[in-house]
Amino acid sequence: MSLLKNESFRIFFSTWSGRIGLSFLILLTAVSIYTLIMLPIPEVSARWNDPQYWADYPKSSPPSWVNIFLDRKLLETVNLQKENIEIIGNGRLAEFLVTYDGFPREIIMVVNNLKYSSRPPVITLHVIRPDGYSLEITRLTVPPPRPDEQPPYTRFAASPERILMGASDDLIREVYRLYTERFDASVTLLKIKQEGALKYLFGTPKDGEITPLKGVYRFTLTATQNDGQLSVSSFQIVLVGETYGYMGTDVIGRDLSLGLVLGFPVSLFVGVVASVLVTGLGATLGLFSGYFGGKVDNVIQRFADFINNIPILPLLIFLVFTFGTKLWIIILAFVVFGWPGLTIVTRSMVLQLRESQYVESARAIGASNLRILSKHIFPNIAPFILAQIIFLTPSFILLEAALSFLGLGDPSLPTWGQMLELGFKNAAVYLGYWWWILPPGLLIVVTALTFVMVSMGLEPVINPRVRVVKTR
């Protein structure tokens, strides 16, 4: 391949756009490959679209790092996890230490895949507050074995057990006991219920008000079972705050960083596949049109003229709307409307090549049309075609984003355009949820820009006019 020869690559790499474009392209590809390897796309996409899964996450929360810029710090969401725990007999399963200063919105315990061998265990979650007082937050009784079941008994394997504790009556009573017995505070069960037990759990009375109790909270999980073995694949405690993770969450609590990461392979796939197909079809038609001339040429050129004369986006929208918002339909629609530009250019290049002396001599020796096309004409336009693939890619990335924004994206795959659509529909712009609408758009721009830059860097390498005249 002439492109990878040192000379061409040096010219390409000497341009600033080539250098920046190539480094970004490598980065984008690396992220996509990483995503494809680390995340099973169908499964994760299904999870992305399942509101149940995100029920415990804080809704419409900015990313945690915004606190760097804020005077009044927002409460971070804390996610504590311990995996692969095994104990024999009674004892401590896990212990979490967390420094906290504020009232969490919710506190959630998640138990995943628990196995026990003899009697059903009881799992208790305790907290020791910074002031030394200890409270029992919740108590989980694991379902006993069914009559025909053989040990080990597996529980919470198909779907993890989640317990939301913020509004539980047990916690309210515990908090009431603490405040009446230790602090002599004048509280009632009803008042705690109305204001939320978590405020009291993470607070302390001060001048008649409940203020956040700052310090280290020690959460302890203990299991009570008489004997036998107990194993849990993961325990999780989530203190839901006002911010979440690196990228924040959307209105149904989805971790936006997951959607953003999933968008990489999808976006690259749509752009590159559509571009390769469009270029392939366009170039092939152009080759035939220019080489054979006559009726073939006429028919192809009329079609190309026709498609060149219509506004494409409205018709694309129409096609995707009537035939369904599936990824392959979207790509097919791109191909249907995308080929003419390249066909016209390829044709004019082939017209010149057809009259060249080496084609004439090849024909004189009796080479077949197929041979002349593949051995003499195609190699001359190949670098140009390769450059076209890169040049066309960003336009399809942008088109897919536009369709997604209009609600015509493939619903089974999360894309940046769809994130923007949902953000826009949920008034993220008017509410100032910038973390929801800025990053996906920025990624669309960066991805498209990467291909534009590479394409600009290739321009001096593959100037079609120079190539066409140069004989091999």
């Binding site: 506004p311 986006l313 209009l406 609408i437 721009v445 960066v446």
Partner: protein
């Protein structure tokens, strides 16, 4: 070919394009069963109206049902719902041409009419105002700056333009619009979030115009900012290429003043290819307006298209595809006429 023959050929070919697009759309609608849905919706709407009108006169419920079902049968026959879709094709075709597609599911005019032709008649001017203003500003800035940069190739400004054009190409107009709203409406509160005018609109014609301008600033800025980089780049390239032609050097050697050379030698020759690019870019502007209008809730055809998709309003989508093609074809023709004016070679 004379000018008029040339223009006539262009009119005919553009008309053929329009008709062919319609044909294509109608065939798809028929083959996928969407046209049945549209016609059924029209029939049930008319039956509902008929029932309302007849009910007070026909007290006997059996007679009423009979009359209604008889009327429905008549309608089904009249609309050709009893025949396969390909036999109805010509009828459907004419229906679309006349925009006689019944009522929109959800969209309404300001006055409350939901007839599709009324809605489009109200929305079309808004889109035209937005797109033409943006295209005009884009052209003006693009050409002025592009020509200036072409005179100093290789400078930092030149390279900055290349980068700007790359960003221009990569940035979606609609997302830029969202960002402008976030910055200038949400944080700075300089401009309204969207719409065509304040509610209630201010008194007096001057204030009204200013109010619309105030609302149009952000959408027009988005359309211009996202496209102007490309226009500058293209203009620069074309002008730069022309400026190196021999006839321009001849002019310089003759000692003509630079301004004259610019105007009469370079711009005269560069105008047609620039115009060609404007023609090609127009499709982008009209399409771009679909999303930009949506973002700014500008009551044009673009936001109407968005509503039509949200409510799955097949008839409205069909009408809008037709209207967008029509607007595009007409714009192409106008530019074709301009072409004849600027390019003397065409007139021979």
């Amino acid at each position: 070919m004379g000018i008029y023959t040339r223009l006539l050929v262009k009119v005919l070919s553009l008309a053929a394009v329009l008709l062919a697009v319609l044909f294509f759309v109608v065939v798809i609608l028929g083959a996928t069963g969407v046209s049945d849905k549209i016609l059924n919706a029209i029939v049930s709407e008319e039956v509902r109206l008929y029932r309302q009108n007849v009910a007070p006169r026909l007290v006997d419920p059996v007679a009423l049902e009979e009359a209604v079902s008889k009327y429905r049968e008549e309608l089904v026959r009249a609309y050709g719902l009893d025949r396969p879709w390909y036999e109805r094709l010509p009828d459907m075709y004419l229906r679309v041409l006349k925009l006689d597609l019944g009522r929109a599911k959800h969209a309404q005019t300001f006055g409350g009419s939901n007839k599709i032709s009324d809605i489009i008649a109200e929305r079309l001017p808004n889109t035209i105002i937005l797109v033409t203003t943006a295209v005009a500003i884009n052209l003006l800035v693009g050409i002025l700056v592009g020509v200036r940069i072409a005179a100093h190739p290789g400078t930092k400004l030149d390279r900055a333009t290349s980068l700007l054009s790359a960003i221009s190409y990569a940035i979606p107009t609609w997302w830029l619009g969202i960002m402008l709203i976030l910055i200038f409406s949400f944080y700075l509160k300089f401009f309204p979030y969207g719409g065509l005018y304040s509610s209630p609109p201010p008194e007096g014609p001057l204030l009204k115009v200013l109010d619309i301008l105030w609302h149009a600033t952000l959408p027009i800025s988005a359309l211009v900012l996202a496209n102007v980089g490309l226009t500058i780049y293209v203009t620069k390239t074309i002008v730069f290429n022309v400026a190196q032609e021999d006839f321009v050097n001849v002019g310089r050697v003759k000692g003509l003043p630079e301004r004259l050379i610019n105007r009469r030698y370079i711009m005269r020759a560069a105008a047609p290819p620039i115009l060609t690019n404007v023609i090609l870019g127009l499709a982008g502007s009209i399409s771009g307006a679909i999303l930009t209008e949506t973002v700014f809730t500008w009551p044009g055809m673009g936001s109407l298209f968005f509503e039509a998709i949200i409510y799955s309003d097949e008839a409205l989508i069909l009408s809008l595809v037709y209207m967008f093609t029509l607007v595009y074809v007409v714009a192409r023709f106008v530019l074709e006429v301009l072409y004849v004016i600027v390019d003397p070679r065409v007139r021979i």
